[in-house]
């Protein structure tokens, strides 16, 4: 019963096509920025990838994968996972960035 109610509420909160199209356009814009940065220099490309790609992934998570409409448990789980990934990246960069 609760699950039915929950999915019903989620259905009500479901955003319109306008939101999806807006996010999609934003994603296209960010991709364009990344392509542009990669033509400037390699370090720009790397920092662009490191900052804009997670932002793009976040938008996909949040809107297209409906994380925005999930409860706090899901959000915490995703944040912890991404935090773990970030730690791994940071440790890898302690090698790559100073080699």
């Amino acid at each position: 019963m609760n699950e039915t109610l929950h999915s019903h509420e989620a259905h009500i909160e479901h955003p319109g096509y306008g939101t999806f199209i807006g996010v999609w356009l934003l994603l296209l814009l960010l991709t364009g920025c990344l392509v542009g940065l990669s033509h400037v220099s390699q370090s720009y490309a790397v920092w662009g990838l490191l900052t804009l790609t997670p932002l793009k992934a976040g938008l996909v998570f949040y809107y297209f994968m409906h994380l925005k409409y999930e409860g706090p448990v899901f959000k915490v789980v995703v944040l912890v996972t991404l935090g773990t990934l970030l730690i791994f990246f940071a440790l890898l960069f302690s090698d790559v960035a100073f080699r």
Partner: protein, 541 residues
């Protein structure tokens, strides 16, 4: 802890009660206890194959036997020895056998959350093992890279690396599925009243292990797939000739494979935490500290991987960062050792074979652990990297640690699993050659490493020969002990005296049910009213 006896009329799990009988009943079982035994039998078979290969490698180091195998075959032998012992024995290790058998019982459940997935895990394990064996005899022959499959050599060699890494990939699925099953089981199937801090410490160890299995294994799985893609399509991610980075392979490999060391050792520590209170007849010292240390070992242990790469050419900043982190991970391990020793202090010691092997674990693990801390220090590491010292060190941890704990756990739970008791004298007799041989072999290796003997060499210089002879004789003694040990247990399985339900005076839930346990463990799910190690109350009864 209030347990309930299942009626003795209930048939044990060893009796076929379903529509299938005999071998088919075992191969299609979804009972967690039978699946535990399937793992036990298959893993022990692989273990003895690995031991056999190890003995042949030792014989090669005796001049008389130098002609036994060629140098190329020797390369294949140390690779296959590593692959078998790591992927088919110590990684599945205690969780696959004792986790499957005892986790549901220890938390008062009738089975794991996903019994069919549990059987599927075993089939993935066997499929991976078959592929690993096939890789020896097909393609370009047995891989010669060492069990780590380091790029770029693994990308270039003509031996059958592709199939071997695919075997490891399949074995990874077994590990991940077991991890998912255990996490869900612990979260969802604990008996009423079984709060987190009322769980036996074996459950905490299995829980932290399961998280590593679930989170770290996909990384090595993808890495191994990349090796296959690189070999077949030359994608160039690890190949420096194509702009790839071979160090990236080492990073990705060790991001899994160092936490895998904790997959191997954490459940062993869990078993020791069960055994010591039972034979000291007192509650474990520092229950919460041990539980938290399991979780922190899982966490911090995932951040120390690059200490395997100090001499690889990675940046000096990274070497310092990982050296520091390596020192930190020693802290939770030390917490466990201090708590175990404190548990024994002023305990009412009942000296039995499981305790002997548990104490052996502590002694050997301390040598393995402390030599590990030594290697965390950069200045020393660069001198002993890739020498026999490393081989000796990790055998102290993996065999002296996980292996001895597995033997201790087997001795502890054998009466419960099979309903039979082994000859204690035969086990004591097997301990002496095993212990003496172990130390001759692996301490000998550490001395050889300090003298400068590199690992994985087919031949050695004359100054190393005496220690090689001592180590090889040690390997014979060790094998003698192992054969005596398992002969005693196999004999007991068939001809042993009937075991009591609680032969050691344990107080956790498995000792409240018959030996061997009935199919669904408990006729009524027990209600838990206190922590797991309350021996004082037992005395007052």
């Amino acid at each position: 802890m209030s347990g309930t006896h299942a009626p003795t009329a209930e048939p044990s799990y060893l009796v076929d009660t379903g529509t299938r009988t005999g071998v088919m009943a075992w191969l299609t079982t979804t009972d967690h206890k039978r699946i535990g035994l399937l793992y036990l039998y298959s893993m022990m078979t692989f273990f003895f194959v690995g031991v056999g290969i190890g003995v042949v490698m030792r014989l090669v180091q005796l001049t008389t036997f130098q002609k036994l195998v060629t140098a190329q075959t020797y390369n294949a032998l140390f690779t296959v020895h590593g692959v078998i012992m790591i992927f088919l024995f110590v990684v599945p290790g205690l969780p696959a056998i004792f986790g499957n058998f005892f986790l549901p019982i220890l938390i008062g459940a009738k089975d794991v959350s996903f019994p069919r997935l549990n059987l599927a895990s075993w089939y993935f394990f066997i499929a991976g093992a078959i592929l690993a064996v096939l890789s020896l005899f097909t393609g370009g022959g047995a891989p010669d890279t060492g069990w780590t499959f380091y790029a770029p050599f693994s990308l270039k060699t003509g031996t059958n690396v592709s199939l071997a890494v695919f075997a490891a990939f399949v074995l990874g699925f077994s590990s991940m599925l077991t991890g998912i099953n255990f996490i869900t089981t612990i979260h969802r199937l604990r008996a009423p009243g079984m709060q987190w801090f009322r769980m036996p410490l074996m459950c905490w160890a299995l829980y932290s292990t399961a998280w590593i299995q679930l989170l770290a294994t996909p990384i090595v799985a993808i890495t191994l797939l990349l090796v296959i893609l690189e070999r077949f399509f030359g994608i160039g991610i690890f190949d420096p000739a194509k702009g790839g980075d071979p160090l990236l392979y080492q990073h990705l490999f060790w991001i899994y494979s160092h936490p895998a060391v904790y997959i191997m050792i954490l459940p062993a520590m869990g078993a020791i935490s069960e055994i010591l209170p039972t034979f000291a007849k007192r509650p474990i010292f520092g229950y919460k500290a041990i539980a938290y240390s399991s979780m922190s070992i899982a966490g911090v242990g995932s951040l120390v991987w690059a200490h395997h790469m100090f001499t690889s050419g990675m940046s000096s900043v990274a070497t310092m960062v990982f050296s520091l982190l390596t020192m930190i991970v020693a802290v939770p391990s030390a917490i466990k050792v201090f708590n175990w020793v404190s548990t024994l202090y002023k305990g009412s010691i009942d000296f039995q074979p499981p305790l002997l092997f548990a104490l052996t674990f502590i002694f050997l693990f301390c040598i393995g652990g402390l030599t590990g801390v030594m290697q965390g220090a950069l200045a020393l590491n660069v001198h002993i990297h890739d020498t026999y010292f490393i081989v000796g060190h990790f055998h102290y941890v993996m065999f002296g640690g996980t292996g001895m704990a597995l033997f201790a756990a087997l001795l502890y739970w054998f009466p419960k699993m099979f309903g039979k008791m082994y000859s204690k004298k035969a086990i004591y007799a097997s301990w002496f050659p095993m212990f003496i041989g172990f130390n001759m072999l692996y301490f000998g290796m550490m001395i050889l490493g300090m003298m400068g003997m590199p690992r994985r060499y087919y031949v050695h210089l004359p100054q190393f020969h005496t220690m090689h002879v001592i180590a090889t004789v040690g390997s014979w003694l060790l094998v003698l002990g192992l054969v005596m040990f398992f002969a005693a247990l196999i004999y007991a399985t068939f001809k042993g005296e009937k075991a009591e339900d609680n032969p050691w005076g344990g107080v956790t839930l498995e000792w409240t049910i018959p030996s061997p346990p009935p199919l669904e463990n408990f006729d009524v799910i027990p209600t838990i009213t206190r922590g797991p190690y309350h021996f004082e109350q037992e005395e007052h009864r």
